[in-house]
């Protein structure tokens, strides 16, 4: 292997194109990665960022163009095995971990040989501890990955790359699932990698991150390379302009309509699991026309709050009412029919079926409505029309409504979820990290839609780790700490210091 000196060329992609059928996901893109540099890849949802990196990692074969790794043309038979052998590592946009296997098993798996009948588990374990210590991870090797939090899973992915001995690191939207604190730590770690001479590629929708970190930024739009900008040569506004075809209006406004009746009323709701209070006597109200924010460090009861309202978890005490009617033990289906919509945190676990087409995903849960089916027979024509309408309205970048959902880019999958939930004219919308994976234009659009929904009389519960989002959209923000609502803050009277201490639980007596 060539010794990687800082500044030397690690990878050169020349004129890469990739077509899926007649659709060109990448069109003549050229990028050079260097050791000791961070390269950011930005672009709208569906611009082709993940596709480009999947080509480099050997998951997809390019239709045209050539790749040079360490100065040598890799030819046309480039597989993931080869990529790993050439010290390339990748963290995918959607984690690729085996939930049922232990941390150690996941990390060593890619380096194992088929002929190795007696692996030296003891050595692997030692190497694992060394690496974790070196980078300050605290993971137990024997925990099942399925039991880890999202932040820890991210660490497993990183360790997996490092364990393989990767020197060229590709991270596809690594911060999308992280809390702001976690993502700051990750970004710091990337700088550390850069200083150690690694070549790093980061795909992100947070332009400020790209500008802060990257030595070069490549902008993709509709599969074409618009520009590659060196550090200090552009501002956020410049890059944003390159990303989108037309100017977007990012001006946010808060719902101005007068608040009406109480839609959601939670009264002393508690949720105990194995003696741990995940929710502890939560009382809150969401009124018509109001966006109520929920803040807190991830893991303080946000997911449980959403799940108890929609009925995925049943409460141990207290009551939840919609328009004064107690929900009790009504099913998820009945609750959804009763006007509750939910954009869950983890779209793959709770919101979409990848193997089904986009149209089916758009009507999922509403398939029994008269416009979609009669006496159990689906009305294909109406469904197709509805899907077409939603695709246009929410700007889902796809060739047709019959495409399987898993072939959409991550952000476009999220748009399908949002489109379905908002189209049902809900009375209460639970939006948990609604902008996860969306580019900034789509984010602005979705925020605007939430505001419109509130103005039209719906109640919105916005659970988010993005404080700017909370302050911009909601009138009041409830702070959760250890399952308790430790305070409510008026967005107009926002004081970062006070808010921070609430989130840290400093004022939780």
């Amino acid at each position: 292997m060539v010794e990687a000196s800082p500044g030397s060329e690690a990878v050169r992609l020349e004129g890469i194109s990739k077509a899926f059928g007649s659709f060109k996901a990448l069109d003549n893109v050229s990028v050079t990665l260097r050791y000791g540099e961070i390269h950011a890849l930005v672009g709208e949802n569906g611009a082709g960022k993940s596709t480009l990196m999947n080509v480099l990692y050997g998951i997809l074969q390019p239709s045209a163009g050539r790749m040079l790794v360490g100065g040598q043309d890799v030819g046309s038979h480039w597989s993931t095995r080869d990529a790993i052998a050439h010290q390339i590592g990748m963290i995918h946009q959607h984690f690729s971990l085996v939930m049922e296997h232990s941390v150690l098993d996941n990390i060593v798996m890619p380096t194992l040989k088929w002929t190795d009948l007696a692996p030296k588990w003891g050595q692997y374990r030692e190497r694992f501890s060394e690496l974790s210590a070196q980078f300050g991870f605290e993971l137990s090797p024997d925990t099942l990955v399925g039991k880890l939090s999202v932040g820890q899973r991210q660490q497993v992915e990183i360790l997996k790359m490092l364990y393989q001995g990767a020197k060229i690191l590709i991270l596809d939207e690594p911060t999308a699932v992280l809390t702001p604190q976690q993502s700051d730590r990750l970004l710091e770690m990337l700088l550390q990698f850069r200083d150690r001479g690694y070549a790093v590629v980061i795909i992100t929708h947070k332009l400020e991150h790209a500008l802060d970190l990257a030595d070069h930024i490549t902008v993709l739009r509709n599969g074409r390379q618009i520009a590659t900008v060196a550090k200090g040569e552009g501002t956020i506004a410049d890059i944003a302009r390159m990303m989108v075809s037309q100017e977007v209006n990012t001006a946010q406004r808060r719902s101005r309509s007068a608040v009406g009746e109480v839609v959601l009323d939670m009264d002393n709701v508690s949720l105990d699991v194995d003696g741990v209070a995940l929710l502890d006597k939560i009382s809150l109200q969401v009124r018509e026309g109001e966006i109520l924010g929920v803040a807190g460090v991830a893991g303080n009861g946000q997911s449980e709050l959403a799940e108890t309202i929609i009925g995925l978890q049943s409460t141990t005490a207290g009551s939840i009412s919609i328009y004064g009617k107690e929900l009790g033990t009504t099913s998820v289906e009945a609750r959804r029919r009763g006007g509750i919509a939910i954009i869950p945190e983890d779209r793959h676990a709770h919101a979409v079926v990848g193997e089904m087409d986009i149209a089916s995903n758009f009507i999922m849960g509403h398939e029994g409505e008269p416009q979609f089916s009669r006496r159990g027979i689906l009305n294909r024509k109406n469904i197709a029309e509805f899907a077409k309408h939603c695709i246009a309205e929410f700007d889902v970048r796809t060739r047709s409504a019959e495409t399987k959902l898993e072939f959409l880019s991550g952000g476009n999958q999220q748009k399908v979820v949002i489109g379905r939930e908002l189209s049902a004219n809900p009375r209460l919308i639970i939006a948990h990290e609604p902008a996860r994976g969306l580019d900034f234009a789509a984010t602005a659009y979705i925020r605007q839609r939430l505001v419109q929904a509130a103005e039209a009389g719906a109640g919105v519960l916005l659970i988010s780790s993005d404080l700017d989002e909370l302050m911009e959209l909601s009138t009041r923000v409830v702070v959760l700490y250890c399952g308790r609502a430790v305070g409510t803050v008026d967005a107009d009277a926002y004081d970062p210091q006070h808010f921070g201490s609430l989130m840290a639980g400093a004022e939780a007596a």
Binding site: Y57, G58, I59, L60, S79, T80, R81, D82, A83, I84, M90, H92, H94, S96, L97, V98, M99, E100, H101, D105, N106, V108, M109, P110, L112, K113, W114, T115, D116, L117, A118, P119, E355
Partner: protein, 299 residues
């Protein structure tokens, strides 16, 4: 007395084919392929086992024939469900029905040669040991039962201690993770199905060559499915799978014994199947490897 050594031996004879087939199913499903065709593959192994034993005149050659027929059937399954890929449930059912037709057809052609029983399989204790009851018992245990026990340890070690085992299980749990690790999913599943088919064929041969010593139409009578059930009962772990097979063996041995009590023989033969349903219904629900039943399409 109902429970004596002969009873234990009979239970073992019955359980042996199941154990071997179940190990095959276990491997296939750990690699993420639903092996519903196990019944059909077993049936083919049963017929070719007898053919080999009769034509070559050596029961061990029968075992080899059965195993080879199974490998071929396993590869056919791989072509249909992994390479194409088609629906794993439909293909499994189709294989089972096709196998009944195919074996009955070949059986008719070879009927004249299959009149007599195949040569017996087994070994007798050397003179000095035959007096010792323990040694006599150990030598009375069918050779293929010993093979099944050895295979169990081999499969367990390979799946849960060796590198290829972890790679194979990763393919069964998450193809995305496997692909991202550079594993060739299609190749792994093809090999897994060849192994699984081989074991299912071997199990079929164990039924005919190792026990009944003759062939009849649909002689497996759902045993392939019982093996499948044993894997589910065992939650995709070899140990509990083996236990499930033994339980069924005991049930059927009991049914055979109690037939002497009189009454309708079919009633007693129902017992092991009822037992299987009962055990499955009450067994704690395990989690199948995640990719089982999902066709894998390469991008």
């Amino acid at each position: 007395m109902i429970f004596d050594l002969e009873f234990v031996l009979s239970a073992l004879r019955i359980a042996t084919p199941l154990m071997i087939v179940a190990l095959g199913v276990l491997i296939a499903e750990r690699a993420g392929v639903l092996f519903l065709g196990a019944e059909g593959v077993m049936l083919c192994g049963a017929l070719f086992g007898i053919l080999g034993a009769v034509y070559v005149g050596d029961p061990w050659m029968g075992v080899v024939w059965g195993l080879s027929a199974g490998v071929v059937m396993g590869l056919v399954t791989a072509v249909l469900t992994v390479w194409l890929p088609t629906d794993q449930v439909v293909m499994g059912l189709a294989m089972n029905i096709a196998a009944i037709g195919l074996t009955s057809f070949i059986f008719r052609i070879a009927a004249d040669d299959l009149q007599q029983m195949s040569p017996p399989m087994g070994w007798s204790a050397p003179g000095a040991l035959s007096e010792n009851p323990i040694a006599a018992f150990l030598f009375a245990v069918p050779p293929l039962a010993w093979l099944a026990v050895i295979l169990y340890f081999v499969v367990w070690y390979m799946l849960f201690r060796s590198a290829p085992g972890l790679l194979l299980r990763s393919v069964g749990q998450n193809v995305k993770a496997a692909r991202s690790a550079g594993i060739n999913v299609v190749l792994v599943r093809t090999v897994a199905l060849a192994l699984a088919g081989g074991l299912a064929g071997l199990g079929g041969a164990a039924l005919t060559v190792g026990w009944v010593r003759s062939f009849a139409d649909d002689i497996t009578a759902g045993r392939g499915f019982i093996a499948l059930a044993a894997v589910y009962f065992g939650r995709w772990y070899p140990r509990w799978t083996l236990f499930g097979c033994l339980l069924f063996g005991l049930g059927e041995a009991l049914a055979l014994r109690t037939q002497v009590l009189g009454g309708n023989a079919h009633f007693y033969l129902m017992i092991p199947y009822l037992l299987t349903v009962g055990v499955l219904a009450f067994a704690e629900r395990g989690c199948a490897p995640r990719e089982v039943g999902k066709p894998y399409e390469q991008l």
